[in-house]
């Protein structure tokens, strides 16, 4: 369980995030949705302690993010940002191996190697494990990054727009992998998504953020309605029944 209490962050005088009070339940996928600049990524980076907050408190599984040692948090929560470029040339396996750093401090044991292999196999990268990252397609590279955070074996996994720049096929693939990680590995996955239909299809909970505040939180059935989506996105949205559930149409 992730609890945000009265969290506030301001940039300059005008842009303010919060106050946010939010409880993200354990298990499943929780999607953060909302218009550009609403503060979804900021909330996620604050939960992942990449950015400090001005006020309030965030607790992950009972550990306060601000006061718990970073090396201990690294075994509880992992976060993957949108943009990742590394100056060194790494193979997939070397990258995924970094996920073991919180446990091994860089000295990989046989147990670590096994965990790395499992994470690689889980994301179907087995045949690519000795390829360099710059030899991969965007979708494969994104999977390698996700394998790294899964290899960290944290109960909570935060992903900032993992579908960014992915085509249809790879987006669907990625969401299926995440769904499996949530159900088979019991991870709590919090993900920023741009496409509301992906959230409606794969998420267990949707958290709608607008103007720095959480305006709606609930199951897809509650959020995927004309009224709520039109209000959150400031766009006329019609929700229709698709073959696999509700679909938002806004074109």
């Amino acid at each position: 369980m992730i609890t945000l209490t009265n969290v506030r962050k301001s940039y300059g005088d005008e842009v303010t995030i919060g106050p946010v009070d939010l409880q993200i339940p354990t298990g499943g996928i929780t999607a953060l949705v909302g218009p550009n600049g609403a503060g979804k990524s900021t909330l996620l980076t604050m939960i992942g302690r990449l950015m400090g907050m001005d006020q309030g408190a965030i607790e992950i599984a009972g550990f306060d993010v601000a006061s718990t040692a970073s090396k201990d948090l690294a075994k509880i929560v992992s976060i993957l940002r949108q943009e990742n470029h590394f100056i060194t040339r790494l193979t997939v396996r070397q990258l995924v191996g970094f996920g073991r750093f919180p446990y091994s401090k860089g000295r990989l044991t046989q147990h670590c190697e096994d965990t790395i292999s499992k994470a690689i196999d889980f994301l179907e990268l087995t045949d690519l494990e000795h390829r360099y990252l710059d030899q991969l397609s965007g979708g494969q590279r994104q999977r390698a990054y996700v394998a790294m955070v899964l290899c960290q074996e944290t109960d909570h996994v935060l992903l900032d727009e993992p579908l960014n720049n992915l085509d249809m096929k790879h987006s669907v693939q990625m969401m299926r992998h995440l769904k499996r990680a949530a159900t088979e590995l019991g991870r709590t996955i919090i993900v920023v998504l741009h496409d509301i239909n992906f959230a409606g299809q794969y998420a267990d909970h949707i958290c709608a953020v607008k103007d720095g505040r959480v305006v709606e939180f609930g199951t897809p059935a509650v959020i995927m309605t004309d009224e709520v989506l039109t209000r959150v996105f400031d766009t006329d949205v019609q929700v229709i029944d698709g073959p696999n559930g509700a679909l938002a149409v806004y074109y």
Partner: protein, 352 residues
Amino acid sequence: MAEATIARPAAERRTPPARRRTSGALPTPRARRRYWIVLAILIVLATGFAFGLLAWDNPLPVGSDGFWRIAQMRATSVLVMAIVAVCQATATVSFQTATNNRIITPSIMGFESLYIAIQTSAIYFLGVTGLVALTGLPQFVLQVAVMVGLSLLLYGWLLSGRYGNLQIMLLIGIIIGGGLGSISTFMQRLLTPSDFDVLTARLFGSVSNADPDYFPVAIPLCVVASVALWLRSRRLNVLTLGREATINLGLNHKSEIMKVLFLVSLLMATSTALVGPMTFLGFLVATLAYQFAGSADHRHIFPVAVLTGFVVLAGAYFIMKNVFYAQGVVSIIIELVGGSVFLFVILRKGRL
């Protein structure tokens, strides 16, 4: 909690590959062999040049009493080269990692401009006697302290302040360096030709600038700082992933960077105060080391970089001394030959 293991779905379970799967920095036997061959070649070259410097053109027969006496006198410059190679190579590799940038060197923080400014103002205000006043152990320690102090001030102020931004820190470093450089140039314009001549000799990075009296300070500084960086290799590996991934993996990014930059400034200040500016050497050596080693692990990069540094320095010195009879100005040949080698390697491989 953290024990949740990753299970493979039954449908996808394949027979595991026969070979052991490892994540080492040198994953294949071929990469391992290549690394050790590179290291062996560098060791042979380094020993060869070191021996050549001691024994070449030594008028007395090998093994005689006089031979050793002459070799001992020459050993000082070999030792200086070793110190400079360790300092420049370790500092540049670590600095590039800490700043997440492969095309800059620590001299961007203004070490060399500060050194040039100190030397120039000494001769400008006090004349040639000023340069004499700058030699001596206390003066050496003072120069190192001023350089380390300036960079600490810069890091401390810019990295912990409101801006807390590495790029801004580097930019301000460049501007301070540029400012100091133009002040020096201005003072140099006003010098008499003879003073200017004396100064120019000091401003070329040169092994003969070094005084063995500085060793009791320079050697411990160099050894302590570089060993400290080598011991942090695994953390440096994480730092190459950038700020966010570093924090995600549980390291305090800011304090790691500060520690690395502090050690780098010790090494750079020692090397610069000992022999003068060697801007290009560190950059050349770090870039070549990444090409040679074929590994991104600092535990592999550091030895290759240091050995490459020594080979380049000793080789340049050997050629200047025995071919051109101009042993003073090694930095010229390093920049000329090193630059060509660098361009060749980069253009052939097409990446850093």
